[in-house]
Every structure is written in C-alpha cells, then in structure tokens.
Amino acid sequence: MKNYYVQRVLYALFTLYIVITVTFFMMHAIPGGPFTRERHLPPEIEAILNEKYHLDDPLFKQYIDYLGGVVTFDLGPSFKELGLTVNDLIREGFPSSMNVGLVSVIMIIAIGVPLGIISALKQNKFIDHAAMFLATLGVTIPSFVIATLFITLIAANFTFIPISWVNDPQNVGDAIFRYIGPVIALSGYSLSFVSRLTRSSMLEVLRQDYIRTARANGLSERRVIFKHALKNALIPVVTYVGPMAAAILTGSFVVERIFVIPGIGRYFVESVSNRDYTVIIGMTIFYAALYIVMVLLVDVAYAFIDPRIRLGKKMGD
C-alpha cells in the first residue's frame, strides 16, 4: 500500500524533471537567443545583458543553474518586465486565478455530478434529455463564446452584474457578482463534461452484476445507488476532475483576457506575445508542476476509492 504511494510520488517527480528539462532545452533551441529576435541591440549591450543573465555560460551550466533555481523555487527574472521576477508575477497573478478557479471547480463538482446522476437515474425521461441537451451545448460552445454571450446578453441587461472583473470591490454585490461571468465561462465546458461523464459512467455501473446482487440482497434503492453504484461510477470522474482542476485553478487564458482578470493566465498570454522567454519557461513549469501534483492527487484518490489499485492484484485472477 505504501509502496504504491511512494512509487506515485517518485513518478511525479521524475515527470516534473522531464518537463523542466524539455522546456528548458526547447526555449534554448531558439536560434540567436532571447534578445536578438525582435530588434538588433548594439553588440556591447547584448554582451552586458548576456552576462547579466548568464547567457554566455555553457548551455549545460545554465541548465544546472536553472535546475538549482527550480529546486529552490526561484524561476528567474523576467527579461521584459524589468525588476520583476517570474516568482513576482506568479505571486501577483495566482491569487485571482485561484479564487475564480476554486469557485468554478466547486460549481462543476457540486452541479455536474448530481446532474449526471439524476440524468442516469431518469434515463430517457424529460429531465435527462434536457440536461444532456444543455451538456452537449456546453461542451461544444467555446469558452470565449460563452464569455462574450454573457457580456452582450446578460451583463448588458442586468447592470448589477459587472461586465469585467472588479479588482477591488467596494460593496458585497460586486464582490459576489463579479464571479458570475468568469465562473460561467470557465466552468461551462467542464461542467457539461463532468455531467455527461457521470451519467454514462453511472449507467455503465448500473448495468453491472454487483448492482443486481445488491438488489437481490434486499438493499434499498437509495443504498444501491448511493453506496454501491456511486463509488464505482465516480472513478472515471475523479480521473477527469484532477487535471481539470489544475487547468482551471491556473486560470484560463481566454476567460482572464475577456474579463480583464489580473491572473496568471493573462500574464502567460502577455509573455507569449511579448516573447518574454524566462516568463514563458517559468510559467510553463509552474503550470506543469501544478498539473502533475493534481494528477498525483488523483492517483491517491483513485487508490482510496478502488482497492484493486491500492492493494494490487495478488490472489485470484
């Protein structure tokens, strides 16, 4: 049992190492280095800059230095935002992204899972068709469309809902309502996906022999569904929700851009358009690390739900 968790952690660390290495060498594969791309700097200034950022060191030394930096949670300076480090940008942007993200993740789970269960239990009834119709729309409409629809149709007509993020809310209304648009746009796809996944997984589980056994044992329908079916049905949902939460917590580039949320997603997109290479590397690693941690948490949760994984297949079979 412990073996499984140790193995998972080592695995995650190894994946993270691969991610850092690949990202580092990818960015350094850009011909000419970060300062020569757009404008031609005088050679002496470029030399100073190269020295300052240790770009004239051998590549391998830079790599080791960078690894050392990552281990001590130092992702280096920004090339374009003078005086700021990647850490500063993350520290500044992450809280907003996380706030919006957390509310979205809670909404997705709190609405998506029950909706899927209800649909499965009322299969082919009106409520199932209605919920699945909405869910299909949800997975097909891109978030920027949802966001803009929200702004043009809803926020325009209900003036108490701010059309963009209120950074420093002065009243309770703003503090709450500013979440509506971003959360709808951010959770639309995943909410739909989760409810569809829960539904199909639940239907699959309800067809299993052990459900029939539970009924044959005289258990109440409630117990059959909420004890015997639900735990099994949640296994694929958990697998999806982990990485999804990572993606959502780190903020969607699109949603943050549309609602002008000063989150890390926006910084990332800005760094891409500014070609701010250290920020791009740093943010990528930050994202990847968060993602990998989430995948790790999923593995742990998975083992918690499914004893076959926790205990391994030893006897029988």
Binding site: T15, P142, Y291
Partner: protein
C-alpha cells in the same frame, strides 16, 4: 373441466386447448415445412449492421448532415462568393447584417451605422455609397454629411434626453425624418462586413477551409503517429511495450496545451503547416493508447492465434485481422478528435498564435472581433456560431458512431 389428469394450476382457463377432432393434425410434418417456421434473420456484417444502427439514430444523422453541409460550404462556398477573403472595401467597413433604414426623400434611403457613418442604401438592403462627413458640430450634436452637394444633417442630441421617444433626427432638403422606414437584411454583405470592409460571410466560409484543413490534417497526423506507436508497442509486448507505455504515461501527465503554445512560440512561423504539425505531433497519445489496447486484446483472440499457428505472416495478421477490428474505435476517436482540433486551433488563434493575416481561421475571426465586441457583436457571433455548429455536428456524429460500433450494444 376436461382432462382429469391435469390439476388446476397446470392448466388455467387461458391455456386450455381446444381438443382437436381432426386426426390429420397428428400427421407428421415434412422437414421442409418445419424449417420455414424457423425465423431466419439476415446476418449483417459488422459495418452494415453499424450503418443500420447509425441510420436509426436521429441525432447522429443530424450530426452527419451537419458535417457534410459544413464541409460542402467550406469547399464550394467561397466559389460562389463575389468577394475574395482579402478583398477590402474600406468605405463599407463594419456594416451589420441587419440595417435600420430611414427614408430621407422619396426613393432615397439611408442607414446610420453605430459609428455615425451614413450610407445611402436601397430599400432592398443594398449599400450604394458612404456619405462623407463634412461638418461636426459637437456642441449642438449635429453632424453634416454630403450627398453629392446636398447636405444631410444628423441631429443626435436626442440620445442625451432621458426617455426620448426618438433616437435622432435626419434632415435633408428641409424635410426631417425621425421614424424608421424599415429594417432590412444587408444584401451587399449578407453577414455584414468587418472593420476593414471585408465580407464576413466569405471570410467565415474561407475560415471553414482553414479550420477544417487544420483539424483534418492534424487528426490524420495524430492517427498516423498514434496507430504506428500503439500497434508497435502492443505487438512487441514485454519490455519494449513497457517502456513505450511509460513514455506515454509521462506525456499524458503533462498539460499538452502548454507545449502546443511553446512550440508555436519557438517555431515563430504562423503558417498553416506549423499549426497542423504542432497539433498533429502532440495529441497522438490518446490514439496510441487506444490502438495498443485494441491490439493487445485482439492479439489474444482465438482467430488471431489460429492464424498464427497456421503460419500466417505478421504483416498479414495486422492488415487482415488487427486493423479491421480496431477500425471501429479508431474511427470514433477520430471523429471526436476533429472538433477538439478545431477548438484548439481557434483557441491558439484567440491568444494570438494562430494563422497570420490576411488568412483567417474561425479562431482568428473571433479574436479580431473581440476588441469591438460591444459595438459589433455579430462579428464575433458568426465565427463562434460556426465553431459551435461544427463541434456539435461532429460530437453528435461521434456519439452515434460510438454506440453504433460498440459490439456490446449490437444486439439491441
């Protein structure tokens, strides 16, 4: 009660038989007659059966019609358009699909755009010309336009009066108009024009070409890499399979979108092929897993074992047995990959890493329209709608294919 040898529960009233007096009934029947009584249902091949099931699924058929329609529009649409995707008529920029027209003189109609630009139009919605603004009186809120020497005055001060019945007043040759004459469809640009005076319809149809090409080719690249990788891994088995699958696991625990972005940044060439190759080379992992799983399962099937024991060559086993049998799930996965690729491409374009101008995909169109969203929402809604419809069609079709090709459901 007849037949004393039957107790009551053996034969209730409904099952009581009529005693046959006709002794001929006890003649043996010929075997040919017996066989006719047996129900022989035509046996269908896998694909025919799947097609039969797919045809029954209304959603899937709607999806398929949608897909065919979108593809047809992408291929043939631009041919029937009077504009090219890059044609600019800067005078006629930002005209909406639906115009409110005002009659300023018998037979002369004008349309006032959201940016206070005045167009002479016909009552059937054709835009004839744009009138130059000759004077701007900001204090009295009166604009003056020149219609071939005759001034047209626009008094928009009414907009500042609360609860005003009218929006503005147009005065031409001493006659004032405040009442809307009609609301007509824009026949010069059926879906309006963008900020450079390009026809939105043409650009959306053209964007369909780009978006669908990207999606389709990227999916084929994915398919190629995924099938090769997965089939090789599954067939080899053992250590090689183990290592190859570890690699897949690692790739799978990385947020791939980041690497798409990273690659786009590094390559720094925003051409069609860069996007296709980037998308195609990154999203093959799912396909590889699927194919490997199929191959592993099929490898152990009796008929494949049988083929092996009688010495059928490996290549032949793959082409005759494995590929046709794995085709169903692969097809479903492909159908689902296409909308994902459309989505990803539009997303890349939306954050400014898409196709470079003047070429445009749906994502680029949506991105371009974002800045003026509140004034010209139609410019965003049209490409968005195109994306959503495509995703919807492919999703319906994919869902339908999945259930049509699922062998577990075949009996139903």
């Amino acid at each position: 009660m007849s037949h004393t040898h039957l107790s009551t529960h053996e034969l209730d009233s409904e099952r009581r038989w009529v005693i046959s007096v006709n002794k001929n009934d006890f003649n043996y029947v010929e075997s040919s007659k017996k066989l006719n009584k047996e129900q022989i249902r035509p046996s269908l091949t896998y694909w025919k059966d799947a097609w039969r099931r797919l045809k029954k699924n209304k959603m899937a058929m709607a999806g398929m019609i949608g897909v065919l329609l979108i593809v047809a529009i992408a291929i043939f649409g631009p041919m029937f358009s009077k504009y090219n995707y890059s044609d600019q008529i800067t005078d006629f920029s930002n005209t909406p699909p639906r115009m409110e027209i005002y009659q300023i003189e018998e037979g002369t109609y004008v349309f006032l755009s959201a940016q206070y630009r005045l167009f002479i139009v016909t009552d059937s919605g054709e835009i004839i010309e744009r009138l130059d603004q000759t004077d701007t009186d900001i204090v009295n809120r009166i604009y003056t336009y020149d219609n071939h020497g005759e001034p047209v005055y626009l008094d928009y001060s009414y907009r500042l009066i609360p609860d005003s019945e009218i929006d503005f007043k147009l005065t031409y040759k001493g006659v004032s108009t405040t009442e809307q004459y009609d609301k007509v469809w824009n026949t010069t640009f059926l879906l309006g024009s963008d900020n450079l005076g390009r026809d939105v319809l043409t650009r959306v149809m053209y964007g369909a070409r780009i978006s669908l090409t990207v999606a389709l080719v990227a999916t084929i690249v994915n398919l190629f890499i995924g099938v090769t990788y997965g089939a090789f891994s599954g067939l080899e088995g053992g250590k090689i399979d183990n290592i190859m699958m570890r690699i897949v696991d690692i790739i799978n625990s990385i947020p791939l979108l980041l690497y798409v972005i990273l690659l786009m940044v590094i390559i720094d060439d925003r051409g069609l092929w860069t996007i296709i190759i980037t998308l195609g080379s990154i999203y093959w992992v799912g396909m590889a897993r699927l194919v490997r799983g199929q191959v592993l399962g099929l490898k152990e099937q009796e008929y494949v074992l049988a083929a092996r024991t009688i010495g059928v060559r490996r290549a032949k086993i793959i082409s005759r047995h494995l590929i046709p049998n794995a085709m169903g799930p692969i097809l479903v996965s492909m159908t689902m990959m296409i909308p994902t690729a459309v989505f990803t491409e539009s997303f890349l374009s939306f954050i400014g890493l898409g196709i470079s101008a003047p070429q445009a995909s749906w994502g680029t169109l949506a991105n371009d329209a974002l800045s003026a969203l509140s004034v010209y929402p139609y410019q965003l809604m049209i490409p968005s709608l195109a994306i959503a419809l495509t995703m919807l069609s492919f999703n319906f079709l994919g869902d339908g294919l999945r259930s049509a090709l699922d062998p577990r459901l075949r009996k139903g």
